[in-house]
Amino acid sequence: MGGTVFGQSFSSLEDVMDIETMLFQLGKGMLTTGEIFILTLLFSLPLGLILSFGRMAKNGILRNITKLYISVMRGTPLMLQLLVVYFAPYYLFGIKISSSYRLIAVIIGFVLNYAAYFAEIYRAGIESIPLGQYEAAKVLGYSKANTFFRIILPQVIKRILPPVTNEVITLVKDTSLAFVLAVAEMFTIAKQIAAAEKSMMALVAAGIFYYVFNLLVALIMEKIEKKLSYYR
């Protein structure tokens, strides 16, 4: 390799990262990206369901607290929320922040944020189920839990898949925000390489990584949608 980039010439081979090394570095970052992605979904999907119950609660206090929570989570930048989660232990309790907390803070921040979005999606899904389904279940003697988990939730999941797919795809891209807490996910690494190499190459490669990741996500979600299309 060697040559001219923006008029600057360099010839020493050691200075230039070859493609394999770059891809390897990005791949390592991809693992962290994947970790943030999977852990966020794992916790925010159930938490979102619980929040949606709060949002639809008969109890006005509970309902309004949940409403405020969702409003704040949706109304402020995720990047800011990550910083707040990271620094809160120090400012609130004077706990010294260790560097191992950075990834944890990122995941907590993502979970708290995405749960708010999922809560509203669940709510829309739950409220779209005809009242008659609850009434039929009640007359047939189903308990409240059985009504929800056997009758309502399966229908809700089918209905909310498209908006959930949207959120999941956004999440893949949002993982890049972890850079504010200096977590070495893929985008952080791509930026570092790009800066060091004075080349867009790593960023382009990162873009392709994200795209392929999302292609996979869309493919899987489509499969699930197809699987649930046995009824209307």
Partner: protein, 249 residues
């Protein structure tokens, strides 16, 4: 002792009194049709009787056992265990079926048996197959509700209600969502049930059907009973309001 005994049933929404002192007694094996204009409280009465709606005042008894008592000027519902047992006395067939769309026809019929009654699946399947055969739906056991006609869906919902072996079956305008052709097949099924001495309370706008089938017809207006009697009595009523209403059909 009456199988079902409703007394002094009252229900208001806001300031609007929808039911004013309604009463109904039903004997084992009896078929009672409830007719009357829209907004007369027929459906609300049915919804209160099936506990989908809380009534304000009044009493509901099944074989002398209190499902709802009227104490201290308000309704007191039976305690959990007793409530569950008394709920077994009745089933309800809805106007728009309310089948579970993600279950097959068979599963719609037997899932309550398995989930609610903890019946072994094999036993539930035997009962399900028998019921589907009885209602002419054997070949639809593995179909999903959306694949069926309205008439077939309503027959499935009747099978689902019958599976739990209720003592009284309530119908809330069972053919109102169906075209005349499909109405016929559902009415046929209900007639067969009547022949087998199934106790039924049917809210309906099918006058001819009510006349043929019922042991007794209750004419409701403004949340109360205007007239009650055998089909002959109602169809030869001297009451102008009743005459007018029936004459329209």
């Amino acid at each position: 002792m009456k199988l079902l005994d409703i007394m002094h049933m009252k229900k208001s929404y806001g300031g609007l009194q929808v039911l004013k002192d309604f009463a109904l007694k039903v004997d084992e094996g009896e078929v009672v049709s409830i007719i009357g204009p829209s907004g007369s409280g027929k459906s609300t009465m049915l919804r209160c009787a099936t506990l989908l709606e809380k009534m304000d005042r009044g009493i509901i008894k099944y074989e002398g056992r209190y499902l709802v008592q009227d104490l201290d000027r308000r309704c007191v519902y039976a305690k959990k265990e007793e409530l569950r047992e008394l709920q077994r006395y009745f089933g309800l067939v809805f106007q728009n079926f309310n089948l579970f769309p993600h279950f097959t026809v068979m599963k719609n019929v037997i899932d309550p048996l398995i989930t609610v009654d903890n019946m072994p699946k094999e036993e539930a399947l035997v009962r399900g197959e028998k019921l589907l055969a009885q209602l002419g739906l054997s070949d639809k056991a593995n179909a999903y509700p959306y694949q069926l006609s309205g008439g077939q869906q309503q027959r499935v919902s009747i099978a689902r209600a019958l599976a739990l072996q209720p003592r009284v079956l309530f119908f809330d305008e069972p053919t109102s969502a169906l075209d005349p052709e499909l109405t016929g097949e559902v009415l046929k099924v209900i007639k067969e049930l009547a022949k087998e001495k199934m106790t039924m309370v049917i809210v309906t706008h099918e006058m001819q059907f009510a006349r043929e089938l019922s042991d007794r017809i209750v004419f409701m207006e403004d949340g109360a009973i205007l007239e009650e009697g055998t089909p002959e009595e109602i169809f030869s009523s001297k009451n102008e309001r009743v005459q007018n209403f029936i004459g329209k059909f």
